[in-house]
Each structure stands twice: as structure tokens, then as C-alpha cells.
């Protein structure tokens, strides 16, 4: 295994069987992929495509029927590899009778982190996820978003080299989604490796360097996001301040060169960007109503 390959799966297969050993579901079929150091790798696919199964095989929560998964060069069943791994599950499966401080302290102890370091890290993480005001409340009193934040905090308690995120933006509001994405990018900038799986394509497109697309347990496509998304036989030109006459002239140049104009129109922003812009303006100017666009 190459030194900059953090995760490697070789012919990884998972077949779920019943009590009598009869095959029930072939969840993953001969998956070969690599996740390299310092990148954000996305696993995409519809529900039931094998994304979560892949993650659980990599983490050692499931045993492969065939093939192998290696993390930091070690077999996925080796618990020592978890020293350098942080995991945020799809739902934050945390002990609801603990409060936030106790939760992070407990997971910190599992890494044999010393008391002083642990105490500082717990305080920093609680502040990072914005839950300082609720740190002494038991998790059973938390909202879903708050639980998700603590889940993220426990995934980072050991300052891991590899962070595995299963549907990280599920259940978050748009601000929470934005913050999560920013955090993922920040982690990458710090040199960490992130493996995330999601069925929300827009979220993956915004942050991932490379993606793999699964469908019914099989790998269908894998590569860098920008190269996969590039439509090679179409050229896009964006220009500001063009009059109608100038637009007509541009069309004629294209047709003279045997090109074919597909569409001329004003580009649209995304709903997310619009939403965030409105929220930001509301914070800056409270009480003032944002004026909508007058439709002709």
C-alpha cells in the first residue's frame, strides 16, 4: 500500500445472510477504491447503494464476505487503527443520559488522552460547535441539530487524521449545512483526510475533491469532481454589461464558426446562496424587510 493512500479496498464484498446462511442481500460487489491523504472523498449513491455498508466495513463494524479493507495499512478489524480515525455516524448514536461535557470526556478517555489535554479539548470543541450554553444538559434534552453538533465534536476529540462522515448534513438547517461544509473544507486545509457519504449531490459537489458513485452495490464511476462534471463539448461564456446588439453579434460569430447557440439567458444563483444572503442581510439590518424582485 502506497504511503499516501489512507484507505484501500480490494475486491471488497458484503453479502448479508440469514441465520441459516442463505443469501439475502448482496450489499457490495467487489469494490476497489483508494482514498488518498489530504483529500475529501465522497461516496455517492441512492438509498441502498452500499455507501453506509462500505463505511461500516472500513470501520470494522461489519466483516467482509470477501476481499479486504485497509486503513493506514492495517486491516479494518484492527482496533488500533481507530486511534487516528474519527467517525460521525448517520444519526448521532450517543448516550442520552450523559451531558455534552461528559460525552466528550468519556470518548476522550477511550483514547487515553491525559486529563489536562482532554479538558482543554472538550472545552474547545464545545465552543467550536457552539454549545457552550448547553454543555451541562443531558443529551436527551437536545434537539436533533444540537445532537449532531456533539456527534461531530466527538468525532474530532482525538484530532484524527481520517474523519469519516456518514450523511453529515442530514437533518441540518441551511446555516448548519453551510457550517458543516466550511468545517469539512477547513479539515482538509489542515491536512486531514475526509471520507463522506451522502445522497445530497449539491453538498458533495461543493466540498469533495474526488467522488465514487455506487449503485446497487457496484462502483459505477470514480474520479475528480471537476473532471467528472465537465461537459466537454459545450463552452460557457459569462459576461456582464452586454447589450442586446452585442449579444446578437456574439451569436453570429458562433454561427459563422459552425457553432450552435444552446441558450442565452441570465444565470441563476442557487437557493442556498440566496437564503444565506437574506439571513446575512437580516443580521446586518434587523427589522428591514428585503425587497423582492418585481416580476414583469
Amino acid at each position: 500500500m502506497q504511503p499516501d493512500v489512507i484507505i484501500e479496498t480490494r475486491n471488497l464484498t458484503k453479502v448479508y445472510r440469514d441465520f441459516w446462511g442463505r443469501q439475502k442481500v448482496r450489499a457490495l460487489k467487489s469494490l476497489d477504491l483508494e482514498v488518498r491523504r489530504g483529500e475529501i472523498f465522497g461516496l455517492l449513491g441512492p438509498n441502498g447503494s452500499g455507501k453506509t455498508t462500505t463505511i461500516k466495513l472500513i470501520l470494522g463494524l461489519l466483516f467482509p464476505t470477501n476481499g479486504q479493507a485497509l486503513v493506514f495499512g492495517r486491516d479494518s478489524s484492527d482496533v488500533t487503527k481507530n486511534e487516528r480515525v474519527g467517525y460521525l455516524p448517520e444519526e448521532s448514536y450517543l448516550y442520552r443520559f450523559l451531558n455534552a461535557e461528559e460525552t466528550l470526556d468519556f470518548y476522550g478517555r477511550l483514547f487515553n488522552i491525559s486529563r489536562a489535554v482532554r479538558r482543554q479539548r472538550v472545552a474547545d470543541l464545545i465552543e467550536m460547535v457552539g454549545l457552550d450554553w448547553a454543555k451541562r444538559r443531558q443529551l436527551k434534552e437536545y434537539s436533533k441539530g444540537m445532537t449532531r453538533r456533539i456527534g461531530l465534536a466527538q468525532a474530532l476529540i482525538n484530532d484524527p487524521e481520517l474523519i469519516v462522515l456518514d450523511e453529515p448534513t442530514t437533518g441540518l438547517d441551511p446555516i448548519g449545512v453551510r457550517e458543516m461544509k466550511d468545517l469539512i473544507l477547513k479539515l482538509r486545509d489542515e491536512g486531514k483526510t475526509v471520507l463522506m457519504c451522502s445522497h445530497l449531490l449539491a453538498d458533495v459537489q461543493d466540498v469533495c475533491d474526488r467522488i465514487a458513485i455506487l449503485y446497487q452495490g457496484e462502483l459505477k464511476e470514480m474520479g475528480r469532481v471537476e473532471s467528472l462534471l465537465k461537459v466537454r463539448d459545450v463552452t460557457e461564456i459569462r459576461a456582464a454589461g452586454l447589450s442586446a446588439i452585442a449579444q446578437e453579434e456574439v451569436k453570429q460569430v458562433i454561427e459563422r464558426n459552425n457553432g450552435h447557440v444552446l441558450n442565452v439567458d441570465n444565470p441563476t444563483t442557487t437557493l442556498e446562496e440566496l437564503f444565506l444572503k437574506i439571513i446575512q442581510e437580516s443580521k446586518e439590518h434587523p427589522g428591514r424587510r428585503v425587497r423582492g424582485v418585481q416580476e414583469k
Binding site: G60, K81, Y87, Y95, F97, F106, L110, N112
Partner: protein, 536 residues
């Protein structure tokens, strides 16, 4: 239950053979389970792949067991303790206190042995409450974590399965220990105050009678002598319970206890003898009175015998008497107990029944010398240590079963194992052919052919096959008897309630036995959890 301390072996004498037997049983179990696992894996994946998988499991097991992190175990134990506290386990203590507060409503304050009543009450109440709590906590915790998937988050940390199992066992045992300490303190105060009140208010009890005792008995070796004075086995009067043998009345038949290490320094005021008899009457006689008998002492070397006392033997009472230093023969000659009767530290005590047609029933532990009294508070504490050992067994079994069974099923399995342990002696007798009627296959034939259990089996192929199969069944039953804990024996409540000191050797022996069960149970729990897909 009879309190019989007569065959308690010294701990250092018991330990080597017990350790060897333990290692043998554990080795047999390990090999057996490995072979079965290989067969099952070979059927699914082929023999070579099975060998590789089993090898990897064993190699990982050695690593996981050796590299257990005490810090992680403590963290997981703390989690178990916090979980218990936040589930309000202190309610158990509140219930216990309520029971004690209202005890006066249902305890018979006019009992002839109030100390036994009070002690049995507090020890039984404590046992039931703590053991039930331990059963619920240990059986339900892990399955709930697996179902809620909280264990998945833990398993993705560098935590070994061995640490998870050990952390639970340590955590729940710590909770039970804390509750036991609290209950023990409250119980002690309750018993002390209760007995003090009874001593003040009841005039029917002798004023100088001590109630809260921890007697240290010295037992002798019992032999029976027949009518002619020759050594024999005791008479069997047909009682199903064969604990006691009988001495015929109106004859020279006697029960003789030989005591060792009897000295002036150990017994400066004479020999304090306590005895409890069984009585078997072949005719009514004087039914209001006891059966007359005599107690004598004899020099084992010279045979010089001095009758010490004539008494009326009664059942269900403990007769306390002192054999004085100064003895008199029927001729009036004075003898000194230690100079004339005790020889090289040995002395014999003879019991004879004087009434023809009546019998005295005795066992070795029925007559002893009361050497001294140990500290009652310490003995009371030892009684609670016995409950703690039982709790440790329950917690370990509960956690082990919960690694692969659902909560309620794990609870039932734990209960079943403990109940099986209660029948340990019966299983052992079945396995070693000490019962009538043969093994299970022979018994089926006897039932179907309507033969009774004592008749000889018929000489046929069917019987031969059944007996051969029974040998295999007996082997399995012997293994089962060896691995099931004899749960009842870990309780020392009867010692405390009967006023006998729990010997240190007994405490050490049973502590080692408890840990001898806990260790393989822990390893079994680890293997089950390790090889389980937590995300399945």
C-alpha cells in the same frame, strides 16, 4: 441448610489441586469450543479457510486480552456506573429501608431464636434485592446499547471488545458493592438495635444468653462403635436424608469423636461442648421428656473413660455444657482432664443413648468444642462478602450472555445457569452413577417398560445401547456440573444466622472459586462480542 464446617480444607492445601482441576476443565472447554468452531466454519468456508479464520481469532484474542488498557476499562466502568445512577438504582436502597422500617409488622418477636430470625431476614432481603438488581443491569445494558447503536460509536474508538466486557463487569459490580455496603451498614444497625430491644423486653430468655455470636468450632473425627464396641458405620433408620447416622439406645453402641490439639492453654476451663442431636423413636416412650443419654470422655491411649454427664436429648436444640477439668470416677477418685484423659493433645468424647429402642442421630458436625468466639461484626461482614461473590457471578454471567442474546433472553439464560448451579450436587451424582435407575436413555426405557429404578436392567441389545449412550450423556453432564457454579454455596448467610464464624479458609476458597468462574466467563463474553457484527 446444615452448617457443617468439619470438612473445610485449609486454603493452601486446597489450592494446588483445585488450580490443576480448573486448568484442566478450562483447557478441555477451550479445545472443545475450538474444534466445534472449526467444524462450523469449515462447513461454511472450507477447511483451510476455517483454519486461517480460527487462527486469526485466537491470535487476536491473545492480543486483545494481553493489551487491555486499565484506563479504558475504568472509563467504560464509569459509564456503566453513571448509567446505573441515572436509572435510579438507589431506589433499591430505598425499598430496602422501607422493608426494614415495616419489618416489625411481620417478624415474630416472640421467636425462640430472635438473632437467627433477624439475621436471616436482613441477609435474605439484601440478597434478593441486590441479586435482582445485578441481574437486570447486567443483562439489559449491552443489548440496549447494541439496539440503540451507541455501541457502534464506542466500537469505532480504539476500544477492544475485552475492555467493553470487562468495563461492564467492573462497573456493575462496583454499583452492587456500593449498595451492599450501604445495606450492610443499615442492616447491622437494625439487627443490633432489634436484638438489644428484645434482650431488654423479653423475660423468657436467659439474661446472660448471648445472641449475636460467631462461634469458632473445633471438630473431631466421628466414628461409630457397635453394641460390642467394635468400629462400624452408623445405623440407617430409613430416613431419606442420610446426613446423620444413628446410635442404638440401651447398648454399648456409641458415637465417638476424637479431637486433636486439645491443650490446657487452648481450653483452660475445661472443654466447652455443644451438640445437636437427631432423635429416632421406635416407640413413644415418655413423649414429654427427652431421650436419656450419656456423655463421657476417654483417653485414646489407655482407654480410661469417665462419664461426665447424663442428659435428656431433645431434637432441634443445641445442648451446651462444659466438661470440667476436675473429673470424678464412679468410685470417687479425682482425675484431671488434661493430665489423665488427654493424651498427646488427643481426647475422645463418647455419646451413648440410654433408652432401649430409641436412637440418637448424629453427624460429625453435630458435636464440637467451642474454642472461642470470633468478632460478630467481622463475621457479619464476611456474610456480606458471600452475597458480593454471588453478585459477581450474576453480573459476569449477565454481561456474557448479553453479548450475543437479547436482554430478556440473556436474563433468562443467567437465571437458568444459576438454577442449574443449585442442582450441582444432583448433577454430579447423576454423572457419576450414584443414583438409582441409570442415565437418561436407560431411564426412558424403564419408564416405557414400567420398570422401577432399583431393578436390574434387562440383558438386551436395547439396554446395552442405552447404557453406552448414557456414558456419553454422563460425560457431558460431568462437564456441565464442572462448569456450572454451585451458586448456593457462595452464600454464607446460614453461618451468620446460626452464629458460626466463617473460616478464613472458606472465604478464600470461595473467592478463588468465584474468580475461577468469572475469568472464563469473561473470555467467553469477549469472544462472542468480538466476533459479532455490531452494525448487523
Amino acid at each position: 441448610m446444615v452448617v457443617d464446617l468439619s470438612d473445610v480444607a485449609p486454603f493452601l492445601t486446597w489450592l494446588p489441586s483445585a488450580l490443576l482441576e480448573w486448568m484442566l476443565v478450562v483447557a478441555c472447554l477451550a479445545v472443545g469450543i475450538t474444534v466445534v468452531a472449526w467444524i462450523i466454519t469449515a462447513l461454511l468456508h472450507g477447511p483451510v479457510s476455517a483454519m486461517r479464520k480460527i487462527g486469526r481469532v485466537l491470535r487476536d484474542a491473545v492480543g486483545d486480552l494481553i493489551h487491555i488498557s486499565p484506563r479504558r476499562v475504568c472509563a467504560l466502568a464509569r459509564l456503566a456506573i453513571k448509567e446505573s445512577i441515572r436509572r435510579r438504582v438507589v431506589v433499591v436502597f430505598v425499598v430496602f429501608v422501607l422493608i426494614l422500617l415495616f419489618a416489625g409488622w411481620f417478624l415474630d418477636l416472640k421467636s425462640l431464636d430472635p438473632a437467627r430470625l433477624y439475621l436471616n431476614f436482613v441477609l435474605t432481603a439484601t440478597s434478593y434485592l441486590v441479586l435482582l438488581l445485578a441481574l437486570f443491569l447486567s443483562s439489559l445494558s449491552l443489548p440496549a446499547d447494541i439496539k440503540n447503536r451507541t455501541l457502534q460509536t464506542v466500537a469505532t474508538k480504539p476500544v477492544r471488545a475485552s475492555e467493553i466486557v470487562l468495563g461492564r463487569i467492573v462497573g456493575f459490580t462496583a454499583v452492587a458493592t456500593f449498595l451492599l455496603v450501604l445495606m450492610g451498614l443499615v442492616s447491622y444497625v437494625f439487627v443490633e438495635r432489634g436484638i438489644a430491644y428484645i434482650e431488654r423486653t423479653r423475660e423468657d430468655l436467659p439474661p446472660d444468653r448471648e445472641m449475636l455470636l460467631a462461634r469458632v468450632p473445633v471438630y473431631g473425627k466421628l466414628v461409630f462403635q457397635d453394641r460390642k464396641g467394635e468400629p462400624i458405620k452408623g445405623v440407617n433408620v430409613g430416613d431419606e436424608w442420610t446426613y446423620r447416622s444413628y446410635v442404638a439406645g440401651g447398648t454399648l453402641a456409641s458415637a465417638v469423636w476424637t479431637f486433636q490439639n486439645v491443650s490446657e492453654e487452648a481450653f483452660p476451663d475445661g472443654l466447652p461442648v455443644e451438640m445437636t442431636l437427631g432423635i429416632f423413636r421406635t416407640h413413644k416412650g415418655e413423649i414429654e421428656k427427652g431421650v436419656p443419654g450419656s456423655l463421657s470422655v476417654r483417653n485414646p491411649k489407655t482407654g480410661k473413660t469417665v462419664e461426665v454427664r447424663i442428659f435428656e436429648g431433645k431434637e432441634f436444640t443445641t445442648d451446651v455444657q462444659n466438661i470440667p477439668r476436675e473429673l470424678r470416677t464412679p468410685e470417687g477418685k479425682k482425675l484431671d482432664l488434661f493430665k489423665d484423659i488427654v493424651s498427646d493433645g488427643q481426647v475422645e468424647v463418647l455419646l451413648q443413648c440410654a433408652a432401649p429402642g430409641q436412637y440418637f442421630g448424629v453427624a460429625q458436625a453435630d458435636l464440637y468444642l467451642r474454642a472461642r468466639d470470633a468478632s460478630f461484626p467481622l463475621n457479619f461482614t464476611k456474610g456480606y462478602i458471600g452475597i458480593w461473590l454471588q453478585t459477581l457471578l450474576v453480573v459476569s454471567l449477565g454481561v456474557m450472555y448479553s453479548t450475543f442474546l437479547s436482554g430478556p433472553v440473556a436474563m433468562l439464560a443467567t437465571l437458568g445457569t444459576l438454577l442449574g448451579g443449585f442442582f450441582h450436587d444432583f448433577m454430579f451424582r447423576l454423572a457419576t452413577g450414584q443414583t438409582y435407575g441409570g442415565g437418561p436413555f436407560e431411564s426412558v426405557i424403564r419408564i416405557l417398560t414400567q420398570q422401577n429404578v432399583t431393578s436390574e436392567p434387562e440383558d438386551s441389545l436395547r439396554s446395552t445401547v442405552a447404557q453406552t449412550l448414557d456414558q456419553a450423556a454422563e460425560f457431558g453432564l460431568r462437564m456441565l456440573a464442572a462448569i456450572l457454579p454451585d451458586f448456593g454455596r457462595f452464600s454464607f448467610s446460614e453461618f451468620v444466622a446460626s452464629g458460626f464464624n466463617i473460616p478464613g479458609d472458606t472465604l478464600l476458597t470461595y473467592t478463588c472459586r468465584a474468580f475461577g468462574f468469572v475469568l472464563p466467563v469473561f473470555v467467553a463474553g469477549y469472544l462472542c462480542l468480538k466476533n459479532r457484527e455490531l452494525a448487523q
